[in-house]
């Protein structure tokens, strides 16, 4: 019976964050500040977006842009975080990499779902239907399926260490979809309007729209970062409980001296 004593197999590796206990302390210290910054950004963003003038065509619905676009960006940002975590698992074998990837998946799925819903509500008055099968929306729906597939994969394999590599490989395979989303508006003639911020020759949005969008995007990103630290902490705790259960069983086995 191999004697599993250490709670999480920690190998010497780069970065102070590698040690889960130190990471947990860091999170405990950082969280209050992160919440303060996130809430402040949200207040500023919402205030700015409601101060923005109405769009001459869309009227009031342009306000939906301020919550649709950030959630799409964060959905893809979350996937980028998972891709780097997947590399962390496969290349550098960083012990927290799988934790980071696994913690980001539900958040990414939620932001993707939000992006789909708000986009669909925003599109209804303009396109007349809730959903249209065009390149941008479909590839974004594929992103949601990839997220849900990853969550199902992680839930299917009970042993966390065993799930790390297959999940990482699946993340990398799924990564092809993100550029497709980004450039789908350019490659195919889509109903979805072309990129208006991150473009070769600079944003086409006028400043009073650009500022609320930027602040809201920052607020969303900070929210994601805060939630991601929390879900990573939850995942570490889940693994601690699990290994503590294993050691209790092992100790009961060894303690069986009549």
């Amino acid at each position: 019976m191999s004697d599993i004593t250490s709670k999480i197999a920690v190998r010497p590796s780069l970065g102070a964050l590698a040690n889960p206990t130190r990471f947990l302390n860091l999170v405990r210290i950082l969280l209050p500040w992160l919440w303060v910054v996130t809430i402040a950004l949200f207040i500023a963003g919402l205030w700015l977006s409601f101060a923005a003038p109405e769009d001459y065509q869309q009227g009031r619905t342009v306000r939906i842009m301020f919550i649709h676009v950030p959630s799409v960006w964060v959905a893809m940002f979350a996937y980028m975080v998972m891709v780097s975590s997947a590399l962390g698992v496969l290349v550098w074998r960083h012990p927290l990499a799988d934790v980071a990837a696994r913690a980001a998946a539900p958040l990414g799925a939620a932001f993707t779902f939000l992006g789909l819903i708000t986009g669909s509500i925003w599109g209804k008055p303009m396109w007349g239907t809730w959903w249209v099968w065009d390149a941008r929306l479909t590839s974004f729906l594929v992103l949601l399926i990839i997220y849900l597939g990853l969550i199902a994969l992680w839930r299917a394999i009970e042993e966390p260490a065993a799930a790390a590599r297959p999940a990482a490989v699946f993340i990398l395979i799924g990564a092809i979809n993100v550029p497709i989303i980004k450039f789908s508006v350019d490659w195919w003639n889509t109903l979805h309007q072309p990129a208006s911020v991150f473009r070769a020759d600079g944003p086409t949005l006028s400043p009073e729209f650009l500022w609320p969008l930027m602040v809201m995007a920052l607020a969303y990103s900070m929210l994601f970062l805060t939630l991601h630290l929390m879900t990573m902490r939850n995942e570490i705790l889940r693994r601690r409980i699990r290994s503590l259960q294993i050691t209790t069983a092992r100790r009961a086995e060894r303690g069986q001296v009549e």
């Binding site: 699990r242 069983a249 009961a252």
Partner: protein, 214 residues
Amino acid sequence: MHLVVTDLSAIRGGEVIFSGLSFRINEGEALIITGHNGSGKSTLLRVIAGLLTPATGEVCLNGKPEGASPDFDDRKFYEHCHYLGHENAMKPALSVEENLRFWRAMDDEPHLEIPEALEMVGLPALAHVPFGHLSTGQKRRISIARLLVSWRPVWLLDEPTAGLDTGSERQFAELMKIHLEDGGIILAATHIPLGLKNTQSLVMNTATMVDETQ
């Protein structure tokens, strides 16, 4: 209360496993079934447990242990039996306590409380541990604990001490003694001497009855 088996025979896959088997076991007695592998020990236990239909013969339980529920007799025979097969009948994803609580709720005659049952098998600390994390020996002892959480007079045990170390074996022999003293009946297919007093033994390959031996 006594268990009577008359002219029992079983055929599986067209081949006669055993035939013309009759015996009677009284309250507080045990029957140790031995024989080489594939001699039909498990088949006999599964037939008595009602999981396999016998070719001929019948199994019946006469009389009633004191303190049994009024409608004791009219329930099917196997409802008075606990069966412990090669598998442990526990879900790896559920914790030990959840598994035992489930089996205790499934039977209508609860017996020991779960902590008490775990204490009897010497694993009190494992209540919250998911069953999948236990070692083979511990899993076997938890499936033995299942026999304790609800009361059924007849125990049908197929290699009960498989995977157990000597300490746990002695502990289980102790549990079997207590069950016999409580007026139960035990049929156990095992090679390991369980040190029980009033036992009959049945050697399966020649399917003959060997009378009372220590």
